[in-house]
Amino acid sequence: MRQIWFVIAAMSVVAMGGVASAEDVGDPTAVKSEDGKYLDKDGNPTFKVQADGTVDWYTYSGFRRYHSECHVCHGPDGMGSTYAPALANSLKTMSYADFLGTVASGRKNVNTAQENVMPAFGDNPNVACYMDDLYVYLRARANNAIPRGRPAKHEDKSDAYTKAEDACMGNNDKK
């Protein structure tokens, strides 16, 4: 139940955004920050990398979640594999709305030459609760803002983030 809100949110963004094109990706420069989440001029989540290489919490968290949930098909560091496309490339042209829609609902590309299927992650809290983290991390990779591998330094997790994460993952339901 707890993750449904997210899927609905993702769907409505997709519905409003319509069919996105490359121009919709927009300038990734962060113009403001809300509780450790950076936003670009269009209000979409984005990365923030400081001069000493310190990354924002979302980029760091997205690195971790990517290498748990996405890596087994899409390869390390968003670089692609023999099995699935390089998301560090895909995010160069894919809008935030399309990203949310694809992760939540999945995608099928089945024809006589190939059979590529991405599952719907909308009701998987390990993914659905971390959509923005994944998006911000892959956006940073797509813009060459961070190299391959684990970001060495990162900003702290904010209290607001922890609260939202616990609510989404149902961490407060237990005990």
């Binding site: 087994v72 098909c73 390869g75 390390p76 059979e115 590529n116 190299p147 993952m169 149902g170």
Partner: protein, 600 residues
């Protein structure tokens, strides 16, 4: 007195065959004929050894491509074909096509089969839609489909004789493994360790596909098929041996999948196989030894009842599945004839056990870089007898959630994965394709949803510090636990080996080379670059008086996912990041069978 099992099989079989089905006698007899290749590893003992010697160390350098066959499928091609008389049976990854080729008519297609499967099974298959091959018995070809359906095809026509659902892909249960026919039963495992499946080994009646028994890797004793005689390291395991080692109901989503190879000893009448990682990859989330994940099972093929078990990696912290093949040989150790089982585990240890009772004889590292353990306690009087001593520096359990434990060797893909080793009774050596890769591993909390990935760890992989090669092809002495020779390879060796009486050993590489090396020295004698990277197993057969070597190329699998983009070295400076070669610079997708022979 060092004969491999196949040499003794027939006589022993004849004695106990009175009540056994004909399929078994037929198959045992057929596996003695080196001209054919009738089961996944060539014989029940999983030796991948052939008596054929027309191609040998002195002439293998002249080898040529005799013919090729495109499978029409792009995904990773594991396993290898079966050869029975004039017919070769070739399988593919999803959509799991099967081709019967007529070797007497320039490999013309006699029949082909392609099942209708829901493509939604594709993303439920961790790490590519591979399939490790077919089984044959009683005029039928058995195929374990991606959607965990076991199907029996008429070997002459390709018509479906029967079909049975082994598991539910909606819960993450899928089929990748090759079945094995033992007597009148066909045995099949399940994949799904990254989806929280409670995995099992199941036996079906060859005649009609009726389920005879199903034995789970974890759960209550009646699901495990354990009784009061089931032992581990010589002692009865007692009641509830699995339940006691899980918190609450966690065993119900406990993994322990059975996607590797199965062996059979007709004389002892026991089947052997291993179970995979406990789910999730986050060890903090599943306290206890998580029995019987990471375990070697010895079971009665008729009832499924377990005679003995041995858990290699209690409470796994690194995803070191125990599914790799069990190779059965008869050798002398310390002047005593022993019925041995040799197993090269993902965890980097090579185990030699007495297969009659599961006594542990040897447990040694088969890659010197293995660093998560200082070794296995071999003291029979010790309370930790048979357990590996885990070193704190490599323990992701000690490091805990949200802590990145660095420099663990081997990486999660293991010192060896499913790619099967070979054994030659002449050299008494095992020929082992290995990975030479280390990792950082950070576990974190995950939540379980049926049919969704249940992983819970972030990992990054790189070659061992100071080394440039990501693989080795080694010769191993199982009696002493020592490497005899080791050939470095740029990438992990992800192809099943073949040993032959011609004193030649064959294997494939991820760049796509089929290589022949001298069995005694490891010296390279021949190589040929096939159309794509090789993760298939090398096979040999004889037809029309000529010996052939056959191998499927078609890069993919875990190797294709982990290595396609190249590995990173976190210890190197920024300039070197991504400096390790990317597999995608060497090869691209596409399944082809390439068949070699000597020139006329």
């Amino acid at each position: 007195m060092r004969k491999v099992l196949y040499a003794t099989g027939v006589g022993a079989m004849a004695m106990i065959a009175a009540g056994a089905a004909n399929a078994n006698e037929e198959l045992s007899k057929m596996s003695k004929n080196p001209k054919d290749w009738v089961m996944p590893a060539g014989d029940y003992a999983n030796t991948r050894y052939s008596k054929l010697n027309q191609i040998n160390a002195s002439n293998v350098g002249k080898l040529q491509v005799a013919w090729t066959f495109s499978t029409g499928v792009l995904r990773g091609h594991e396993g290898g074909p079966l050869i029975i008389g004039n017919t070769m049976y070739v399988h593919t990854p999803f959509p799991n096509k099967v081709y019967a080729l007529d070797l007497s008519q320039d490999s013309k297609i006699i029949w082909s089969y392609e099942p209708k499967q829901d493509p939604n099974v594709i993303p439920v298959m961790c790490c590519d839609t591979v399939n490790r091959g077919l089984a044959y018995a009683d005029g039928k070809i058995f195929l374990h489909q991606a959607d965990d359906t076991l199907v029996a095809l008429d070997s002459k026509t390709g018509k479906v004789a029967w079909s049975v659902k082994n598991g539910d892909p909606k819960k993450g249960q899928t089929g990748t493994s090759a079945p094995l026919v033992v007597k009148d039963k066909v045995l099949v495992g399940t994949s799904g360790g990254e989806f929280g499946v409670q995995c099992s080994m199941t036996a079906y009646d060859v005649k009609d596909g009726k389920q005879v028994w199903k034995a789970y890797s974890e759960g209550p004793d009646d699901q495990l098929l354990f009784n009061d005689k089931t032992t581990s390291l010589g002692k009865p395991v007692g009641k509830d041996s699995s339940l006691k080692t899980w918190q609450g109901d966690q065993w119900k989503i406990g993994g322990g999948c059975t996607w590797g190879w199965i062996a059979y000893d007709p004389e002892l009448d026991m089947v052997y196989y291993g179970s995979g990682n406990p789910s999730t990859w986050n060890p903090k989330q599943r306290p206890g030894d998580n029995k019987w994940s990471m375990t070697i099972f010895a079971r009665n093929p008729d009832t499924g009842m377990a005679k003995w078990v041995y858990q290699m990696t209690p409470h796994d912290e690194w995803d070191y599945d125990g599914v790799n093949e069990m190779i059965l040989t008869d050798e002398k150790i310390g002047g005593k004839d022993r019925k041995l089982l040799t197993h090269f585990d993902r965890n980097g240890l090579a185990y030699t056990l007495d297969r009659t009772d599961g006594e542990l004889l040897v447990a040694e590292k088969y890659d010197p870089k293995v660093n998560w353990t200082s070794g296995v306690d071999m003291d029979k009087n010790s309370p930790t007898y048979g357990r590996p001593k885990v070193l704190d520096a490599a323990s992701t359990e000690k490091g805990g959630e949200d802590h990145n434990t660095k420099g663990i060797c081997p990486a999660a893909l293991g010192t060896k994965d499913e790619q099967p080793a070979a054994y030659s009774p002449e050299t008494q050596l095992f020929y082992v394709p290995t990975n030479h890769v280390c990792m950082d591993y950070e576990p974190f909390k995950v939540s379980y949803t049926a049919g969704q990935p249940y992983v819970g760890a972030t990992l990054s992989m790189y070659p061992p510090p100071g080394d440039k090669n990501m693989g080795n092809f080694i010769a191993w002495d199982a009696k002493t636990g020592k490497i005899v020779w080791s050939d470095p390879e740029q990438f992990s060796v992800w192809s099943g080996a073949l040993a032959t009486a011609g004193n030649v050993v064959f294997y494939g590489t991820l760049e796509g080379y089929l290589k022949a090396v001298d069995a005694k020295t490891g010296k390279e004698l021949y190589k040929f670059k096939t159309p794509s990277g090789i993760i298939g197993n090398v096979t040999t057969y004889e037809h029309g008086g000529k010996q052939y070597i056959a191998v499927l190329s078609g890069v993919g699998g875990w190797a294709g996912i982990g290595l396609a983009a190249g590995l990173t070295d976190p210890t190197a400076g920024l300039g070197a990041v991504g400096g390790y070669a990317a597999l995608s610079n060497y090869t691209s997708l596409g399944g082809t069978l390439t068949v070699f022979s000597l020139p006329q």
